[in-house]
């Protein structure tokens, strides 16, 4: 079928180990191949940078709390009479919203940045059909979603009794019912406590009634994950997010993973992925003494190769926070007094949404901004450290090019620091001003495609230009041998590709959407043996406690858009 040859580009592909060499990339029938015939369509990438399509490991782009954010924030679309983040229509549908884009804008904006895949950060299982409806209406990019397990009544009870086999059967059943991808854990135990208005801020705080600690939940789910051999590891948003002085608790949490080894057939080497690490890397005992603990945290991450992390960089925008850490969102509302939405989900989880303005003239915001960048600049292995903003919590994902600019250019960092009213205090409370390191394109490729794909266990499909991978390619207007001295040009280049190619089809050309081929829904299919006990428990909880019938719970096949199962052959 269709053949394409991308010629003469400077290729950065950590999966194949290509570090900027001038290499041709051959594509046939939607896959990367070794070579093609002379009839191939030629794309001349001479003097340009070529990478695999981007691979997003954590963003809140589709689902009930994302949508609650959209609904409650008309002013995210219209501010002072001007349309925020909107753009003149390029694709089939209009693009709306700045910090919480519409599903159509989400797909188009990721495509324009050269991304091919997004991992929806949290899916409440009962509302899975909603996530899949939004996936259907998100163009171009492939998507997966992680159901949340850390406050799930089944898991709390099985793990309290140390019944890993039962927990694993339940997890496999839930992944299948929701067409979910992996095990997400958010504020373990704390969001169940929030069902009573309480919280667990420490991993040793017991959950009311269920009498299990967050530490036990995390460890039990890591054991479950490795028992099943899932493609991705446990993906953790831990306890005590956002509080000054939380870094020691963060390291204690990370240490919970130290006794485990990864077991899987997907090339994954970590047992724990700690998400948006910026929010967990704080020193100080109050907002007044708030400071960066990026070095201490990264010292631990650097020496522990069974950990991966993503940054959660603050972008200094007016944005929207939204997370399954329900109690944290209420706490944030009590701090900034902006409107607060909350959705607690029976037996499973909760969530909250609050707008937030990361004002560059407020010291705490400037320090948070610095911390996100420091985590990357302190990192030894950038395959294990990924660029995110916990979209939209620390900023919209459309700012990734700006983060790349800051990481690649000290001059750009200094320019931003110079605009900050509380510059002196920020410099005193962080290390950023004294850090000279500037990342290169290979580093960026590790942090935005190869690393996330490997951590997700999907590097044979995404984030890779090795033969056999999906032909997802991004061509950026950057001469790798002569990077521009003006850092703004770096940001521009990563914002709008010269070409984005998705499974061999050109979807973006010169920063404009030109095609919208069908996308896939990625999910994990684990075949475990029938577990009668677990099925009885499931029937009992649906009869007694849920308000939806069991037979209506699993997402009907017709509501899943173009599913593509990652099959796990379970062996005990």
């Amino acid at each position: 079928m269709s053949e394409m040859l991308i010629k003469n580009g400077y290729v950065f592909d950590p999966i194949s180990g290509i570090k900027g060499d001038k290499t041709d990339i051959a594509i046939k029938d939607g896959k990367i191949v070794e070579k093609v015939s002379s009839k191939a369509k030629i794309i001349d990438a001479a003097g340009k940078t070529v990478m695999a399509g981007g691979c997003e490991i954590h963003a809140h782009v589709a689902g009930p709390k994302v949508n609650a954010g959209r609904t409650m924030r008309p002013e995210d679309k219209l501010f002072r009479g001007s349309y925020r983040g909107g753009i003149v229509k390029q694709g089939k549908r209009m693009e709306m919203g700045f910090s919480i884009p519409s599903t159509w804008k989400t797909g188009y904006a990721y495509a324009r940045m050269g991304y091919a895949f997004t991992n929806e950060a949290a899916m409440p299982p009962l509302l899975a059909p909603h996530v899949h409806e939004e996936f259907r209406d998100t163009p171009i990019i492939d998507q997966a979603a992680m159901p949340v397990f850390g406050n799930n009544w089944f898991c709390l009870e099985y793990l309290k009794n140390k019944e890993i086999e039962n927990n694993a059967a339940y997890v496999a059943w839930l992944l299948k019912s929701t067409f979910g991808f992996g095990i997400k854990v958010v504020n373990p135990g704390g969001t169940e406590a929030w069902g009573w208005g309480e919280n667990c801020v420490d991993i040793h705080d017991p959950v009311p009634y269920f009498d299990i600690t967050p530490a036990e939940i995390i460890k039990g789910l890591i054991e479950t994950n490795e028992y099943l051999g899932l493609p991705h590891s446990v993906h953790l948003h831990g306890n005590n997010l956002g509080n000054p002085g939380n870094y020691e608790h963060t390291i204690e949490t990370l240490k919970l993973a130290s006794e485990y080894k990864p077991k899987n057939k997907f090339g994954r080497e970590q047992v724990l992925h700690n998400t948006h690490l910026q929010f967990f890397s704080y020193k100080g005992d109050s907002w007044g003494t708030f400071a960066s603990a990026a070095k201490e945290v990264m010292d631990y991450v650097n020496k522990t190769d069974t950990l991966t992390v993503d940054l959660g960089c603050v972008t200094l925008d007016e944005t929207t926070t939204m997370t399954a850490d329900g109690p944290f969102e209420h706490h944030l509302n009590q701090l900034n007094h902006l409107k607060w939405s909350n959705v607690d989900v029976e037996l499973e989880t909760g969530s909250g949404v609050v707008p937030y303005v990361y004002d560059k003239d407020i010291a705490v915001c400037g320090i948070q901004w610095a911390i996100g960048l420091e985590l990357a600049l302190y990192a030894k292995d950038l395959m294990r450290v990924h660029i995110t903003t916990d979209h939209p919590n620390a900023g919209p994902f459309t700012r990734y090019p700006r983060i790349i600019k800051w990481l690649m250019s000290k001059k750009a960092r200094e320019a931003t620091l110079d605009t900050m009213k509380r510059k002196e205090k920020i410099i005193k409370s962080t290390d950023l001003a004294g850090m000279d390191r500037e990342l290169g394109l290979y580093d960026i490729a590790m942090m935005t495609r190869a690393g996330p794909a490997k951590a997700l266990g999907l590097s044979n499909i995404y984030g890779s230009l090795k033969a056999g991978a999906d032909a997802n390619v991004a061509i950026y207007n950057l001469d790798a041998t002569k990077l521009p001295t003006d850092p703004e040009l770096i940001e521009n280049a990563f914002s709008n590709t010269l070409y984005t190619i998705k499974e061999g089809v050109i979807v973006v050309q010169n920063g404009e959407i030109v095609a919208e081929p069908q996308k896939h829904t990625i999910w994990t299919k684990v075949s475990v043996p029938e577990n009668a006990q677990v099925m009885r428990d499931i029937k009992e909880k649906f009869t007694k406690s849920y308000t939806v019938n069991l037979e209506n719970y699993a997402v009907f096949d017709e509501h899943v858009h173009n599913p593509r199962a990652i099959e796990v052959e379970f062996s005990a």
């Binding site: 924030r73 008309p74 002013e75 995210d76 501010f79 409107k339």
Partner: protein, 266 residues
């Protein structure tokens, strides 16, 4: 100051959006260029020249530009949208959004103005000789930052939602008002010279309401703390002072709790 006079030559079938009628967009243009500026009627994009004829000339800048609108424009919205300076005089009623998101300059409406008058205003002055309706000096849906500066004066009466989510500036309604004055306000001043049916200062954290007439249904969340003399719009009166909303969170200034105020003429 230079003046452009625009005179209506035909009525639209539906309603017309005059977001292009601002000193900022007229400044430094020829009349022919001004006539080409867009205006929507539903999905149809007209040119201003399809509905108006133009005379005179604009100034070089917004500040130096005055626009006079003649003819019955009661079905036309958004005069003065986001303007930063200059003047507009409308010699009839006008529809919604007069002076929307205005930053500076002056608008006068000789007749009545419809809803969303001066929405999220930041500066400048609007005078309506007739009545206004609902949402005077209000905030856009969902925005906690409402009117923050400038002056709106309505010589007639108004409806509900005067200064909702206001943070600064002044609104003067010389006639009566329905309900909801300074709801959710965090600053700003509203002066009502007529009567208000109720809900003055609901959920207010900071701001000042002056009512020269009666409040038919006062809120329980306001308690009287004394009597003061204050000058309001050039005249001095004796007022009963109430502080509140006691049901809302309280602002603090230098460690002291501060309240919103209702001054009710004694």
């Amino acid at each position: 100051m230079e003046t452009v006079t625009m005179t209506l030559v035909q009525q639209p079938e539906l309603y017309f959006e005059c977001y292009s009628v601002t000193p900022d967009l007229f400044a430094d243009k020829t009349l022919a260029e001004i006539a080409l500026l867009p205006a929507h009627e539903g999905k149809i994009v007209w040119k201003l020249g399809d509905f108006f004829k133009f005379e005179g000339k604009p100034g070089a800048t917004a500040e130096e530009t005055r626009i006079v609108v003649n003819g019955d424009v009661r079905k036309m919205k958004r005069f003065g949208q986001q303007m930063t300076g200059g003047e507009i005089l409308i010699n009839s009623d006008a529809d919604m959004y007069v002076g929307c998101w205005m930053r500076g300059g002056k608008i006068t409406v000789k007749g009545n103005a419809d809803a969303f008058l001066g929405i999220a205003m930041e500066g400048g002055e609007i005078t309506v000789e007739g009545d206004a309706t609902n949402h005077v000096g209000s905030a856009y849906r969902g925005d906690w930052r409402g009117m923050s500066g400038g002056l709106i004066r309505v010589k007639g009466k108004a409806g509900n939602d005067i200064g909702t989510a206001m943070t600064g500036g002044t609104i003067i309604i010389e006639g009566d008002v329905f309900i909801h004055v300074l709801t959710h306000a965090e600053g700003g001043t509203v002066i009502i010279k007529g009567d208000v049916e109720g809900r003055v200062g609901g959920q207010m954290v900071k701001g000042d309401a002056y009512v020269l007439g009666n409040i038919l249904y006062p809120l329980p969340g306001f308690k009287k703390i004394g009597t003061v003399e204050k000058e309001v719009d050039g005249q001095t009166y004796t007022f009963h002072q109430y502080i509140g909303d006691l049901g809302e969170r309280k602002g603090k200034k230098k460690g002291e709790v501060i309240y919103g105020n209702i001054y009710l003429k004694a």
